[in-house]
């Protein structure tokens, strides 16, 4: 064949070989079609398998209230016996992460907004929201912190000081 035909052909071959070589090094060995819900499916199971482990290694930050019981047994026992027993500590105090190592202490949120998430009266009759005792935030001691009068760990009105 003529030289001017062969030269671009060689160029093309080298180009393709370079791509294949690069692909060999860039694409991880665990990348491919893996069995899943749909069997070995290219449509749903074409991925890097190591990513599943990467997601499993993600850090857990909300630790649950049984953890708190060891050190904050007073608060734990109190809230357990109160109308707020269904509320997790970390909803109000934020994620424990590695508390008390890191962070050494959790924030205390004394804002009215925290309580109004549930106690602002919206007047929705058929919603479960209406089952929670509601107040009008503009009327009920506006400007004062709820926790100045109510104990968040035992809000029972009978036990108010």
């Amino acid at each position: 064949m003529k030289n001017h035909v062969l030269r671009p052909l060689w160029l093309a071959i080298v180009f393709v070989a370079a791509i294949l070589l690069a692909r060999y090094y860039v694409v991880p060995s665990d990348f491919g079609v893996h069995p899943g819900v749909h069997g070995k499916s290219f449509t749903y199971g074409f991925y890097r398998q190591g990513d599943i482990q990467d997601w499993k290694n993600f850090k857990v930050k909300y630790r649950g209230r049984d953890l708190c019981a060891d050190c904050h047994d007073k608060e734990f026992a109190k809230i357990k016996a109160s109308p707020h027993s269904i509320i997790q500590c970390e909803n109000c105090h934020g994620p424990a992460i590695d508390h008390p190592d890191n962070p050494a202490t959790l924030k205390i949120n004394r804002s009215r907004a925290l309580c109004l998430r549930c106690h602002a009266d919206l007047g929705y009759p058929d919603s479960n929201r209406a089952q929670i005792p509601g107040i009008d935030p503009k009327e009920h001691n506006a400007g004062e912190a709820c926790v100045d009068c109510h104990n968040p760990h035992n809000p029972d009105l009978e036990d108010m000081e």
């Binding site: 819900v37 857990v60 909803n91 998430r117 929705y124």
Partner: protein
């Protein structure tokens, strides 16, 4: 190129056999063989949302954002809570300020493209909250459209995104009929609810399930007939969102309404 009669015949027979193998393989697979091919078939994560229990406190959204490191003040979230207020004129007012992250603390409601409205209670016929999250579909369209294999379905049915592999083309965000995907403000890759894969694979519940004080959110293994969530899904009247798309959502709802899409 030359081709003797002998090689032609040989290749024809070879080709016929090769063609017949996959067909017969498809035909004669028993259920057990199918299960074996699927791999670990003991777990399939499913979710049950009881909208009648939701009060719109938004603790689930807060917990999800903090647990999964979704920037707290960015207007994106993996799970969110919608408020529906239906008035006497049969109009549905729907909003979800910041995805419901700070709860619903006032009657003021802001429909898309309309000024905020203060609907008096006597105008309301019904009002309720609907938590939303990824449906972890049996047939996830978002996975089908990914051009690089960056999003996939795990053997236990959760759809994940490989952040190292995603090129940020946004096809999956457009494809999801439920609008659960978005770009992560920090990584600039597609982001979505993972059913807290790092928690459920350690025996914990998802952050949103743990955060909900009212039991409106539950997660369970649909392949375990003794799982309380599976039992509830089988015995109660449940529905899924946008059934007509054929995506087969694995998030089931109690108490859906005509206006919830």
């Amino acid at each position: 190129m030359s081709c003797s009669r002998r090689t032609l015949l040989k290749n024809t027979v070879k080709g016929a056999i090769a063609g017949a193998v996959p067909l017969s393989a498809l035909k004669f697979l028993s259920p057990t063989e199918v299960k074996a091919a699927i791999g670990d078939a003991k777990v399939r994560w499913g979710f049950l949302v009881d909208t009648t229990k939701c009060v719109g406190c938004g603790f689930c959204v807060k917990a999800c954002k903090k647990e999964n490191e979704v920037p707290y003040d960015a207007p994106v979230t993996r799970t969110w809570v919608e408020r529906y207020v239906i008035t006497k004129d049969k109009k549905a007012h729907i909003d979800s300020p910041m995805g419901g992250r700070d709860g619903f603390t006032s009657r003021q409601i802001k429909d898309d493209g309309e000024p905020p409205e203060n609907i008096p209670p006597e105008e309301i016929t019904k009002a309720f909250f609907v938590p939303k999250l990824c449906n972890q579909c049996e047939n996830p369209v978002c996975v089908q459209v990914c051009p690089v294999g960056a999003t996939y379905q795990t053997p236990d049915g959760v759809v994940l995104v490989d952040r190292t592999w995603c090129i940020g083309c946004g096809y999956c965000i457009m494809a999801c009929p439920y609008g659960v995907r978005f770009f992560h403000p920090k990584y600039h890759t597609a982001e979505k609810c993972t059913f807290c894969y790092h928690r459920i694979t350690k025996g914990l519940k998802t952050a949103c399930v743990d955060a909900c004080p009212f039991g409106a959110r539950r997660i369970g293994n649909l392949k375990d007939p003794n799982d309380p969530v599976t039992k509830a899904i089988l015995s109660e009247r449940v529905a899924v969102l946008k059934d007509e798309y054929g995506t087969k959502p694995q998030v089931f709802y109690i108490g859906l309404d005509y206006d919830v899409r």
